[in-house]
Assembly symmetry: C2
Homo-oligomer: 115 residues x 2
DNA sequence: ACATTTTTTCTAAAATGTAGAACATATCCA
DNA sequence: TGGATATGTTCTACATTTTAGAAAAAATGT
């Protein structure tokens, strides 16, 4: 099993988990994904990605207590691990480095012409 | 519209193609990938990804003339299209926005700042 | 009790990522 | 001239990630 590799969707889900904090459970994350990207996402996609990320050690999870709301069953709350965190950072730095080497995007001026 | 979606490896290959310019052909890209990431990559992986990116319209390609070097046969040179370019930018901006919402990482990195 | 809501778990598929063998075409040098 | 060797592409197959939604579980409302 390759421990340190993550895909694009996985990266986004990991980031959203960090952003949502205490509220990071599958359904809420899917909701946030849709609102931030404008693209629909299936709940299954989010669930399977979350558990894969947990298998890889980038996330850890814990069941919350049930709430007093209608249908308010226990949620599986996800938290980023130290490894997940550093993987995110590495990925970010790598992409940033590539962007900086891309002619026309290196620094402040985003003007670039395509043939 | 599922046309505008790319994966993580695809994104890296697209970026490397842009960075390499006139020298962007499969073998060279694979070489650059290894030197930039430190991870090995098979030539087949790069080839299939490049042609997939071309099918999606993010890259276009053209055969070069053979060179006078030993074994210097014709290369397939890839170039980023306008669509490929804007897809890259969209992806970069989206990730940046997520990072800025991530508590403790709202960075003021100068080379990335959008506004 | 039974319907309804929120949420997870399970199953299956399509798309992306990975690997390397097979093939083609160039130069080098006896 | 032609085989050894180098550079590249094309092809084929398989693994992993991404996507979708149905089914099951656990809570409240009436």
């Amino acid at each position: 099993m390759k421990e340190t590799r993550i895909g694009d969707f996985e990266e986004t889900i990991l980031l959203l988990t960090g952003i949502l904090g205490e509220d990071a459970y599958a359904l809420r994350i899917a909701e946030e994904f849709e609102s931030q990207t404008g693209r629909p996402v299936s709940i299954g996609a989010v669930h399977s990605t979350l558990s894969r990320l947990e298998d890889k050690g980038f996330l850890r999870s814990e069941m919350s207590e049930a709430t007093a709301e209608r249908g308010g069953r226990r949620k599986r709350i996800y938290t980023i691990t130290a490894i997940g965190h550093s993987t995110l950072e590495t990925s970010r730095e790598f992409k940033q480095s590539l962007w900086n080497q891309f002619p026309g995007f290196a620094t402040d001026n985003p003007t670039w012409q395509i043939s």
